[in-house]
Symmetry: C2
Subunit: 115 residues, 2 copies
Amino acid sequence: MTESLAEPDRAASALPTCTPDSRIVAARFAALSHPARIEILKHLSASRSCCCREVVDHLDLAQSTVSQHLKILVEAGLVRFEPDRQRSRYEVDHAALADVSASLAALVDSCCSGG
Amino acid sequence: MTESLAEPDRAASALPTCTPDSRIVAARFAALSHPARIEILKHLSASRSCCCREVVDHLDLAQSTVSQHLKILVEAGLVRFEPDRQRSRYEVDHAALADVSASLAALVDSCCSGG
DNA sequence: ATCGTTCATCGTCTATCGCCGATGAACGAT
DNA sequence: ATCGTTCATCGGCGATAGACGATGAACGAT
């Protein structure tokens, strides 16, 4: 029997394809894995007014595209959203961002101490 | 002519859709944006032997899939690769990982100080 | 009441991701 | 010489990302 070649019911396996923790960390990094979103984060923190339009003017992307990027950042918990009349108010969640940074620092630390 | 609707030569615009710096940082985060790759990084640092096969055993993914993930990590500069007979030797580049962490820390810092 | 502005969402299109099995090269062991 | 193991790569497939234009809702101003 070619057990080593055939899949021994991989789905039922108890091997940790990826731990829940890894999933969460990876999801946070995914939100940061696009240059436009990095740029948006920088702009949000540097600017005082944080409506979608202003980001569009600064970034040279279609309004719909920017809106989607903002949504991704909000869903990742890195940016807070507050509807304000017809403008939308976006601002960086510094604590969440610091938390992601800490996660990465912890990973680096575990990599160094583990070796 | 609906000039306001048509694109006013967006490509020729000098607006920074994304700075080179943002591109680089985003590319690094992209390599970290998958749970399997996070898991691989943790395993590489915790284990002494770092051949592809061992990661495959630990991770419950097809060998070809793991090989691709490793390649992505190597191309991102986060993992060093050294062919060793028929085994491949992979090890975490701690300095590069620390560098990414520093980049994120700098982003967090700019977000805090900028406001 | 009407118009202009801002914004989120929808539908579409293309490119890329992530997974797999299959294949062949490289190498050690018999 | 032959076989088993390890590995990278190829080709294919389904799902997702990322971009856009169009549309309609919400709101301020006239």
